[in-house]
């Protein structure tokens, strides 16, 4: 394997691996912007991934699978919305338990689908302009060639940015996350806006799961999300609740994720005659051990999370002011 093809493969895998985080992260971002923390993302990704596989196997269409996976994520988030918005339950408890429930349900029903064969999303060039852009070295084939869900995710980054900053609906969502009392007096339906944001979040988490099983791995395995839902929650903090920064963060984590998957083709050990070989080779081997490499994304998440929070400690303005606070109307 030559170095350029390794880099190309790595960059390609990075974009594809980041799509899960982009989709789930955007959903979490919208939900949190409306003031509702959703810690059930991990569970929603799992449910989206399994239901997507089942629907694809049954109908033979990966697009139907993608739609069903997204809707199942939405249905789970409806439980979260009902508990947290209508019943004013603790958002952290509800979310954590939905993750536990999602893990349980998908492990329970997932066994028989673990060896299921299906045709997932094929790699293709972005329609219309893709044919031209794909000629750009490295960037072209990595960004403009891939499963359709990669393009959907990239498009959604722009859509969500536009929605939140350029539309009335977006401003209403943000207002119920910043100051629900004032929003209510302005005539905005706080409950409706929060429901809407949480449901969009669940839809995107389900879509992230469906992408994961239908386009990225091409197979269902137990606990396929492997903590990516939690990384998505951390990414939103890193992104300071902004879609553009979320994309950057997702690429960073996609890189570490794909590094692990592609590292088999990489040989970094020094030649035995090199004087440092005896000293460094065990270190390199340790660092390239698959079990050790699989913890890199978590370590990077920790480091980046801490760095973000410590550096922007004096600027609390990015976090929605009413995050995790239930809203009750004064008795009227």
């Amino acid at each position: 394997m030559t170095d350029t093809s390794f880099l190309l493969g790595l960059a390609d895998a990075m974009v594809s691996a980041s799509t899960v985080l982009v989709l789930a992260g955007l959903g979490e971002l919208i939900s949190e912007r409306a003031g509702v923390l959703n810690l059930g993302v991990e569970g929603m990704i799992l449910v989206g991934a399994l239901s997507g596989v089942i629907a694809t196997v049954v109908t033979g269409s990966y697009w139907i699978g993608f739609a069903v996976g997204s809707v199942c994520g939405l249905l789970m988030s409806a439980v979260h919305a009902f508990l947290c918005i209508s019943l004013k339950a603790d958002q952290a408890i509800s979310g954590i338990m939905l993750t536990l429930l999602g893990t349980g349900i998908t492990t329970y029903f997932g066994q028989q689908w673990a060896s299921a064969q299906f045709a997932g999303f094929p790699d293709r060039t972005l329609p219309v302009i893709g044919g031209l852009l794909v000629e750009i070295p490295i960037v072209g084939p990595t960004v403009f060639e891939g499963p359709a869900t990669d393009f959907v995710a990239l498009g959604l980054v722009v859509v969500v940015w536009w929605l939140l900053t350029r539309t009335n609906l977006g401003l209403e969502i943000i207002s119920v996350g910043e100051d629900p009392e004032t929003a209510d007096t302005m005539g905005i339906d706080v409950f409706k806006m929060r429901y809407l944001a949480v449901l969009i979040g669940g839809l995107l988490a389900g879509a992230a799961g469906a992408h994961l099983s239908l386009a990225f791995t091409g197979i269902w395995t137990n606990n396929i999300a492997a903590g990516q839902g939690w990384i998505a929650v951390a990414l939103v903090i890193f992104a300071r609740w902004r879609p553009g920064r979320l994309l950057v963060g997702a690429y960073l984590f996609g890189l570490f994720n794909s590094l692990r998957l592609r590292s088999q083709g990489l040989d970094l050990t020094l030649a035995p005659e090199s004087p440092l070989a005896a000293l460094l080779n065990p270190v390199v081997e340790f660092l390239l051990n698959p079990a050790i490499m699989s913890m890199y994304p978590y370590i990077v998440t920790l480091v980046v999370l801490v760095a973000t929070v410590v550096w922007s400690r004096d600027d609390d303005s990015a976090q929605p002011a009413a995050l995790v606070q239930a809203y009750s109307r004064e008795a009227d």
Binding site: T103, G104, I105, T107, Q111, Y195, Y298, S328, D332
Partner: protein, 369 residues
Amino acid sequence: MLVDIDVSAREETPSWVAYGTPLFAIAAALAVSVVALIAIDVNPVAAYVQMFVRPFGTVSTLSNVLVRATPLILVGLGVYLPMKAGLWNIGAEGQLLTGAIVGTWIAINVSLPQAVLIPVMLAGAAVAGGLWAFVPALLRAKWGISEIITTLLFTFIAADIQLYLVRGPMQGGSGGFPQTDLLPGVAEFPAIPGTRAHVGLLVALLFVALLYAVMRRTRFGFRVNFVGSNAEAAEQAGMSRYRVYLLTLVAGGALAGLAGISEIAGNQSRLHASFAPGYGYTAVPIALLGRNGVSRMLLAALFFALLFVGGNRVTVAMDVPAAIIDIVQALVILFLITAEFFQRYSLSVSVDRGDDGQTIQGTEVSADD
């Protein structure tokens, strides 16, 4: 029109509602789980008899519940204590794993007489678990970084380290299985005569009593409760939130570490790749179900131990996937928080009271004490 119920806060919760809520939550969870059992063509009545009645059949089956309960009580305390201070130790699983790793290493590599070795193993496991919780505790206390996310990330890292160790440096035996050597006989926790339960259970009950006393009788316990119910007010009263956060989460980690080594030395006899079936995650529902007192947490731990034993029985006897345990656990708590709404609010005609003091804050877990 989306759901927008007109509700009013109860001035006080009737006692039958308060006591009935956990029981209702369990009953509702079991009722809904029937769907999952029917979906795989299992007779739910037969399954529930197998799960919840059969374990009471003989002393030996009953002692299985106590064996399961031992790590669950310890790790349950490990989530319960930080929860009292308003913190979520969602990553108790990771602290449990590090405790098991370090305790096992001591058991295999240090030769001491049994009366010394077992306390050293316990201490090593507690220190390891405490250290594993230390960084998340520091990050939370100093910069307010969510301990939910950090303890979980530390759990994922601990799980990878465990896999690396049992496949590499700590791998033992023959056949290349991902496991260590068997613990030497002196390192095994002695059984309580006549049962399969072991010394770990006594350690667990000791800590239940200790925590009960600390929370009720000491200044520290008072501070923890104060910070947990209103951190701002506690700060104004001159209490250090920083110290309470650090101490409770690190102590929680130590308790989880004890759970880890007690499961290895008391039950499994060796560290292997999948020795912990998510006890650390189950600890969260345990602490939530028993959030109103250490003794109720003990009952919750016994109930979930029964669920584990029963879950294993239906897995073996009726081919029900073991994940039924996770489904029931999650549903119990989801129904618990649903029911708590009716504890706090009454749905009758709303009364104009003009105050809104019952708004539930996100992390106030002990507000109803």
